[in-house]
């Protein structure tokens, strides 16, 4: 995996050093105080498993990386670690630039507030000032195609519209790093194509992209580099073609494109 870490490369925007995170297998298992406050030990306790361990890689600005692996192999966890919404049990995650996470994008939206209030709230929580949002507001609404529903409470939108407005807001953040976690599977075909074009636009603008997908075609379309996760290990870090080839070799899956 050192092949991509050229010595004269600029400072990486994302770097993970020996990162590991473990989860409990049984949610109902007893927690005790010792467990909670005890020092972070390297060994795994009974009933726990390492979702990811010994993960090392760095990402240069402008790279587009696809994360590949079967369900439950730590892909989303990896994205969450990079976003900073979960913390590693060992190792260091260093992200030097701002992140626009397209992960659980509808999470910040409040049912009882209007679309307008929700846009200001969510964009604000991601660090935009009121002035910036106002400047971008029409563009966001136009992208989401819900001009008629600006003052409708969010809960009355259809589920497709909810995702559309959420994508529109987060994708306008224009942070240097964009994280995408299979959100593109929703929405109708026309809107999906619009999202793809938006992502390509962002990529062309020099963004760093980190995408989790099961869709081989999407991965080939956006990514140049791939990370293959299997059983909590980073098995292969190489070109997206090599990674997909290895993945198909291991699991023999013809993805339904």
């Amino acid at each position: 995996m050192a092949n991509l870490m050229a010595a004269d490369a600029p400072a990486p925007v994302i770097s993970l050093t020996d990162v590991g995170i473990r989860f409990r297998r049984n949610r109902r298992g007893r927690r005790n105080f010792k467990d909670l406050f005890g020092a972070r030990k390297r060994r795994s306790r009974p009933g726990e498993f390492w979702a990811l361990q010994h993960v090392n890689f760095t990402v240069q600005p402008g790279e587009a990386i696809g994360v590949v692996g079967r369900n439950g192999q730590g892909k989303s966890t990896l994205l969450k670690l990079v976003t900073g919404v979960v913390l590693p049990d060992e190792g260091v995650v260093r992200v030097t630039e701002g992140v626009a996470p397209l992960i659980e994008i509808t999470g910040g939206f409040v049912d009882d507030l209007s679309v307008r209030d929700n846009v200001y709230l969510t964009a604000g929580l991601h660090g935009m000032t009121r002035k910036q949002i106002t400047a971008r507001f029409d563009e966001i609404i136009e992208f989401a195609e819900i001009a008629d529903f600006i003052d409708t409470p969010y809960k009355h939108l259809s589920s497709g519209m909810k995702v559309r407005i959420a994508f529109a807001v987060i994708s306008r953040l224009e942070e240097p790093i964009l994280l995408v976690d299979e959100v593109l599977a929703v929405g109708d075909k026309a809107f999906r194509e619009k999202c793809y074009r938006r992502i390509e636009e962002l990529l062309a603008g020099g963004r760093t992209l980190f995408i989790v997908s099961h869709n081989e075609r999407d991965l080939r379309r956006f990514c140049t580099r791939g990370l293959y996760l299997d059983k909590g290990d980073l098995v292969l870090d190489g070109s997206i073609a090599a990674v997909l080839e290895r993945y198909n070799q291991d699991y023999g899956i013809k993805p339904a494109a």
Binding site: K80, D112, L121, T129
Partner: protein, 260 residues
């Protein structure tokens, strides 16, 4: 246009304010009476205690006018009580948002304390109104009001930081906290004054940080309630609780994020 590069502290404040605003907006946009509710609750409580202790029983505790004496501690109590009981659900209720944004996690506690604190400030005109109606003279000690608010803020944040993460792991704690709060209401000088307690309890009452805080609030109308000994102990207790809360919060944060 990138989100404006600002210092982490400015961003923290910005997010905190947005969430507090959201809380208040949701609360007031979904109920017709809005602001009225946040003052109705303490008013009804005060009305009941006033009736029981001045009309039914012969009042031997507290000061005259009793309704002002009551409200001066009841309103801050509502802040403490509301914020701490909301904190039991601080993570559970916002789990979706916590999973999708990386704002510093202490915000989920602080915003609850702040929005309840704003409601507390908004309910203060009621206290002033009753003080005028019943002719309670305002003392110069009213200038100490901000100090009381600061100490109470520290205390409430400390307790919130302690309670919020622990509830995630021990769900029973949610109900235990409600019970403890009810006990604490009677263990704190809300319907009585510390001086009404038997002398052997004075020492122990001082260790309830609310004792000193309420004495500070009350001093605005009842200067004889001012007791710097109580206030000092309550300030020290509040700061230690804040330190303990921050420690517990920091140690459990990692596990909380996995659990929700």
């Amino acid at each position: 246009m990138r989100p404006e590069q600002r210092t982490p502290i400015a961003r923290y404040g910005h997010s905190l304010w947005l969430l507090t605003q959201r809380d208040l907006r949701v609360r007031y946009s979904t109920s017709a009476l809005g602001y009225f509710w946040s003052i109705l609750d303490p008013l009804v409580m005060a009305g009941i205690y006033w009736f029981v202790f001045t009309q039914v029983f012969e009042r031997t505790v507290g000061d005259k006018p009793y309704i002002v004496f009551l409200l001066a501690a009841l309103l801050p109590w509502m802040w403490f009580n509301g914020a701490v009981s909301d904190c039991t659900r601080a993570f559970l209720r916002e789990s979706k948002l916590i999973r999708s944004t990386r704002i510093p996690r202490t915000i989920w506690v602080n915003r609850l304390v702040l929005s309840k604190g704003i409601e507390f400030l908004a309910s203060l005109p009621v206290l002033v109104l009753f003080a005028v109606l019943f002719g309670a003279p305002l003392d110069v000690n009213a200038l100490l009001f901000p100090l009381a608010i600061v100490i109470q803020g520290i205390l409430t944040v400390g307790v919130g930081l302690l309670v919020a993460p622990l509830v995630v792991f021990f769900r029973d704690l949610e109900r235990a906290v409600k019970l403890i709060l009810r006990f604490l209401f009677y263990a704190s000088p809300v319907i009585y004054s510390t001086t009404d307690l038997p002398p052997e309890l004075h020492f122990w009452a001082a260790f309830n940080p609310l004792t000193g805080i309420f004495s500070l609030y009350r001093a605005a109308f009842f200067p004889e309630q001012l007791d710097w000994y109580l206030i000092t102990i309550s300030a020290v207790m509040s700061l230690s609780l804040l330190a303990l809360g921050m420690l517990v919060f920091r140690r459990t944060e990692r596990a909380v994020l996995k659990e929700i």
